[in-house]
Symmetry: C2
């Protein structure tokens, strides 16, 4: 086991339980902050914000100026990988990302790309990582991330977000060879990207498997567990002590298999995961992250405080990073965030 570093959040990921859980908030640099909206209003395009180190650094740091958070998370998007691979990604206002869906021929083209392409394209993001690392306190943790291959593939194959990922799920069944080729491309790109983030100054990286929820068991094993494991192994082949959080949103009955078979250090729990279920299904020493419903943070007050305290109590005997169970939503009142951080820090 790697030695403790003095960064409470990184140390928790490494397996060292803290007196109080450290906290960060998924999508903490986001639209609920007026200063974020002001910075975003000055850019023409969401990806431009991700690819401009001065601006991306600024929005990454904004929530740390307001709240006593234990980590910064790189401001970027899971779709910078398809963008770096040459699949055009647009962000339409109120509509989310839009891509031209890949077909079999398009996947074959991706597979022939020079492997250096992705990192050259993502150089500005790596510069942001270095900037943020230089700006935050030595006790604060910097979290890098990427989307997991299945989640990214759902956008590349479906062309947009969807409630059931039907386009990608059907493609995987109808075109298994091309689908496997796409997953291979994404695994290689993700490993290179995460290793570069860790070398640029990230302390921890998180794998966002945001669409783990509509897969049956064989599909989950093939599309989620195997690729996430290959990324963990690929990163650790280059950085043996890399600290990795896995967040398979909706994994539910496959959560324990994901945790034990991928080799992640810490397991992110969505808000629908009952704390008692996690306590019985997971190895007792496995650290967890989560899992307050973001809408409880919107509503605030006694119900939020009570639920936050219940979550902290439920995970008191294992490494625990406090977080929401999904991203913070734009209508969240800032004073509720301040109240939550205070509860987590001070009880």
């Amino acid at each position: 086991m790697r030695a403790a570093t003095g960064k409470p959040l990184l140390d928790t990921v490494l397996g060292f339980r803290q007196p109080r859980p450290p906290i960060w908030i998924m999508r903490q640099a986001g639209r609920y902050l007026p200063e974020y909206r002001a910075t975003r209003a000055g850019t023409t395009d969401f990806l431009q914000l991700c690819y401009t180190p001065a601006l991306a650094t600024e929005v990454t740091l904004q929530p740390l100026r307001r709240f006593a958070l234990d980590a910064a998370i790189l401001f970027s998007d899971i779709l910078v990988i398809p963008d770096a691979l040459g699949q055009r990604v647009r962000f339409e206002t109120g509509e989310g990302p839009v891509l031209e869906p890949l077909d079999v021929a398009g996947i074959a083209r991706l597979a022939r790309l020079d492997p250096g392409t992705v990192l050259r394209h993502l150089q500005p993001v790596l510069e942001t990582v270095a900037n943020v690392r230089a700006a935050i306190a030595p006790t604060q943790t910097l979290i890098g991330f990427c989307g997991s291959p299945w989640t990214v593939a759902t956008y590349m194959l479906g062309g947009k977000g969807s409630a059931d990922q039907a386009a990608a799920r059907l493609f995987a069944l109808n075109e298994p060879v091309a689908f496997a080729q796409l997953i291979d491309v994404l695994i290689d790109a993700s490993i290179a990207y995460l290793v570069a983030q860790l070398r640029a100054g990230a302390d921890v990286v998180q794998l966002f498997e945001s669409w783990a929820l509509n897969l049956d068991e064989p599909a989950f094993r093939e599309r989620v567990i195997a690729p996430n494991r290959r990324i963990v192994e690929g990163v650790r082949a280059q950085i043996p002590e890399a600290a990795i959080i896995g967040f398979p949103r909706g994994a539910a009955g496959m959560l324990a298999a994901y945790a034990s078979e991928t080799g992640v250090n810490l397991l992110g729990l969505d808000y629908a995961t009952p704390t008692g279920f996690a306590a019985t299904a997971l190895p007792p020493d496995l650290g967890v992250q989560g899992n307050l419903d973001p809408l409880r943070l919107v509503a605030g007050g006694a119900q939020m405080a009570e639920r936050a305290r219940d979550i902290i109590a439920a995970f008191a005997d294992r490494p625990h990073v406090f977080n929401l169970g999904h991203g913070i939503v734009p209508q969240t009142p800032i004073e509720h965030v301040a109240a939550l951080v205070d509860i987590v820090k001070n009880g």
Copy 2:
């Protein structure tokens, strides 16, 4: 325990394991059938189809003419309850249902309604139940249903379907008194409606809790388990041996609690529920229904056959009703349905 009836599907719900699992298919009377599309094309409105006994009977019977299914399921919709309560429901083509979202005052108005209103409005649906019962074979089971209160409330409060049910989830947190009042109205209406279906000739009723997936544990207990239990108890207070299937889609880590605390006879499993998880988490004698991914039925072929056989093998030692883990989708080839029924019937 109630005695066996000679209807294989009803008997399975009652706890009698069959040599081969009986089968029905969620949304089996639906758009994948050309004869359904033809009937639907002759109506101006989806609810008109539900409220016209001759037409609703016809579409209920259509899939039984093509496939050796063990059950008919009443052709209707979970939103006939809000419609019967006076909240206008329109079905927009390609958009799904649209309702004027309820507010606190609207809920108070619903709570003052004469309890007989719902059954008077739904008389044509009960006539369809009687028609179908008279038309099917004595060994075939007739399944009635309603939407569970939380699921129906998400539409009544949100005005439409959504991926995260955020409007209803926030309403429940911000207006707990009015929310509880709405759930009470829906529980009473559902009990009356299900009892009437059973008296009109339904052998089994299913509670569709289609949106059980975005709730944390306290919310799941309050909004799913408690109302479903109250409906089961309310129906059994009038019909002690009522056979009830509960289908909490996305219940995941709360599945075992739902099964043991609601008192349903048989538990519907969505396709994301791993068979091994169900086998270890559920009481060994509890019957289950499910759980093939509907997209495996679209893709067909060897992967579908293999997965169907794996599901049958996994549940061979408990009562098992074969079904999809969610509704059949319009693009499903009819010959794949025939192949699936053959596999389930003949191995």
